[in-house]
Symmetry: C2
């Protein structure tokens, strides 16, 4: 058995075990309902498929087109889209509740717009081919295009949200819900305002969104770039080392302190004494009492840190007033990698552990992040006019993954069809079309068979499979009497209703069904 | 005066005349309301800006970043987004009414997926730079990715809609609402069904959408590739010339017959006698009577044409049953350029002429198009397994332009904020935040000033400018009495309401306002 054959058979075994096809959805019906296979299993299948493709190439290309989406991307199936729509609607509802307006920017920007904004991550930017024209790149996030927009339109104040895809040539772990193409949902406030008021509202927005998702406990870690800079200052880090040491601290969410410390000392040549001093600070977290405590340490000797601590005090006070005291944690280990942050930074981390259908824990991690960036707009303005900004980005792909896992054993409707128009005998296609027309024109969501003379049984089965609540059955004898049968699909109960008042009867029945849910 | 200075002053004159800033939106307030400047004027400004940029380059680059979106693209402002959202919602509502499910595919595909699908237009495809990995291109339409999806997932039947951006390196006339990045809204039915039933429903969908837009009269032209092939056959065109002659016929919507004929004869070496014979046919249009008439001409000698005419008879019958007889026109000049169509083709053309604010006519043209493509999925299947498909693409960008022009003198709200929480004196910021929290937690869409001690007048002005219906005013004496003022912004009427039942009072007042609209 060749390696390829072995893998192919492995794929089939997995598919059989989990009742999914090797290509995920081998549906022979409309995609109206279905099981969401756990993302974990799908990932395993994806890995095997990738391996199979590689081996296929190895064993001699056939010249046949490889059928796949580009590396790190995926199609969304109708079931996934239905979940995604409901998650997105919850997020957008909160953005609108806080007065957000929305804009849209192109998927690509002049390459120069993105240059120098992402530090070490710039290598992950997708470039377009030079086809004789401008040099373009796909957007890497929504923040830099937003800053470009604010500068270009000379906007002084805007509170905007944007939901759009961004692109990163990463080598993401797709099993953890990370892709090269993924959605971001951003809310940003631009404008000159009083300290910490919009910043606190961004944190309230994160809290509102995560609460509306009902996905368990979370913590919103907050910190301030000036506090971090102050720490580096009092610990004796040279000023030109701040940024690189900061990016080491940023790794504390994934690596233990000992490893981060080793990187600081061995790779970045930091004095071990300084590293140890930093280590003391970055392992602290708490609430208002931590601000008090830090003010009585050496940190208060740095005026930068002092400013940061004053800001933190105000931020925590506003957060408490807006009702998120439990979920906010002042955490000195939070650093965030991006170059453009200048003030408050924050990150929401899911604490609840979600179990998949095999009872295994799905670790989730960060689901939102953001901060203040007061200098980014100025980088685009010909007179370096700054417009202070603060914003948050929701890690919507992770939220999708969690919802998918939560709904793994639930049937998800993918269409909103209310009525299926069926025919009981042959040669009723024309009557069916006339009736469909009447329902469509009355705004009733209606489907029917695309066969001329379909079997009644298969039409009724279609309703049950798709979860369509009502069926209208047209029959010859009923036609002569001026009636049709109205069938409640779930109960299979049928009543005769007047053809002339059918729309009314349907709307009544739909309301009745909705009320009884 | 230099050319650059001249242009700059020209831009300012235009801006002044039309009360728009040279960069479209120099708003100093939230983008909550505003005039939609006519797209015509904006386009002129865009052209001047482009010229200015070029001259700026000419007169010596300063090394400063050019602030623009890539050629052929644009940002959508909040007012435009509000209009776009309402147009899209209408389209999606119709798609859902007909039982559509939705999917999503990546913005880029393996380049091979797109190769050989678009004929002469392939040169317009955007390629990504080879950064060491797969060779990728941006999608050119939603049809080819959909066919790839159907083949890859071994889907037998699906009725799906998709709303997404596509990319074409064209030199579009932006003044006519054409861009290099633009939205498409597609509805396609894949599966083996009986003739013309899904095809007719696609036409019904176009009719439903255009009717719901309320943008005047339109005609849905229909034709059939087999009828066109039959015409070429009986007129003596060599088989290998069918496609190129078809693409000449396709130009009839923009060029007069004489010009198309000249192209056929001079550029494509067609016998003038054949060209004249084609000319007789392609100038015909009508309804069922035209099918009858054609069956008694030489056309009936072609079995291909005969099949096409039979299909057309059935299609017209079904369209009539579904209630769109007036708007459907069997038009022999309709050819449609894309390679992949195999059966019915159709295109909706707006007949009503919309006037812009200067009273000039805005010509609109094609707003939807589609057809049957039975061989495209097979091109992706390793066993060439075909899945017949028919679908329609809505030219949503044109619909946006029309709506923008129609709303040019109307104020468009861009946020949904219901209540603005204002403070009457200093030092009430904390009370304000507490009250906002309460409203947010009760799902009331609420905004407040991001200044600590804003002036009452400026807060109330903000409500009026943004069209926020209600304001809550917190004052010291009221606080002591346990009340707040609830102000109806439009009438400036104020009543005292109990702080403890504020949410209830607000919801009551909002319902009252909604009912009186």
């Amino acid at each position: 058995m060749t390696r390829l054959a072995l893998l192919t058979s492995g794929l089939e075994v997995i598919s059989h075990l989990f009742q999914i096809s090797p290509t995920k959805c081998k549906s022979t019906r409309w995609f109206s309902r279905g099981r969401i296979a756990s993302s974990k299993i799908l990932e395993e299948v994806e890995k095997l498929k990738a391996l199979k493709l590689e081996l296929g190439d190895e064993s001699g290309s056939t010249g046949k087109l490889i059928l796949k989406t580009p590396k790190g991307t995926r199609d969304y199936q109708p079931e996934q889209m239905a979940i995604r729509e409901s998650v997105l609607n919850k997020v957008i509802k909160v953005f609108k509740k806080h007065g957000g307006v929305t804009i849209d920017t192109p998927v690509f920007e002049l390459k120069d717009v993105l240059t120098g904004k992402y530090g070490e991550d710039s290598k992950l930017i997708y470039d377009l081919k030079d086809q004789g024209g401008e040099i373009l790149s796909l957007r890497y996030d929504l923040t830099v295009p937003f800053a470009r927009y604010v500068a270009m339109n000379k906007t002084s104040t805007i509170k905007r949200y944007q939901v759009a895809k961004v692109y990163r040539r990463d080598n993401p772990s797709m099993s953890r819900g990370r892709y090269r193409e993924f959605y971001q949902c951003d809310f940003d406030v631009a404008g000159q305002f009083d300290p910490m008021i919009p910043d606190a509202e961004c944190i309230k927005i994160v809290q509102d969104i995560l609460t509306s998702m009902d996905i368990g406990n979370f913590v919103i870690k907050v910190n301030h770039r000036q506090i971090l800079d102050g720490i580096f200052e009092v610990c004796g880090v040279a000023k030109d080392m701040f940024r690189t040491i900061c990016s080491s601290v940023d790794k504390l969410d994934k690596s233990p302190w000992e490893e981060v410390k080793r990187e600081m000392i061995e790779e970045k040549n930091l004095d071990p004494v300084a590293a140890d001093a930093i280590g003391e600070f970055v392992r602290m977290n708490g609430g208002m009492e931590l601000v008090d405590k830090l003010e009585s340490t050496s940190l208060s000797e740095s005026s930068t840190a002092k400013n940061g601590l004053d800001s933190m005090r105000l931020l925590l006070k506003y957060c408490a007033l807006m009702g998120c005291p439990q979920s906010v944690s002042f955490d000195l280990s939070l650093a965030r990698g991006l170059d453009y942050y200048t003030g408050v930074i924050f990150e929401a981390v899911l604490m609840a552990e979600v179990r998949d259908e095999k009872g295994e824990l799905i670790q989730v991690g960060s689901v939102a992040g953001g901060g203040r960036y007061d200098k980014l707009v100025g980088m685009f303005d010909s007179k370096n006019r700054d417009v202070p900004c603060v914003g948050v980005s929701i890690g919507i792909e992770r939220l999708f993954s969690i919802m998918e896992a939560n709904l793994a054993n639930t049937k998800v409707r993918t269409s909103e069809t209310e009525v299926y128009v069926a025919t009981a005998q042959k040669n009723l296609c024309e009557e069916r079309l006339k009736l469909c027309r009447e329902l469509w024109d009355s705004d009733v969501k209606t489907e029917h068979s695309y066969k001329k003379n379909p079997k009644l049984l298969s039409q009724l089965q279609e309703c049950e499979i798709s979860g369509i609540p009502l069926a209208v059955v047209i029959g010859e004898s009923e036609l002569q009497k001026g009636v049709v049968k109205l069938r409640t699909v779930a109960t299979r109960e049928e009543t005769e209703v007047l053809r002339s008042s059918l729309v009314h009867s349907i709307k009544e029945k739909l309301n009745e069904l909705k009320a009884s849910q």
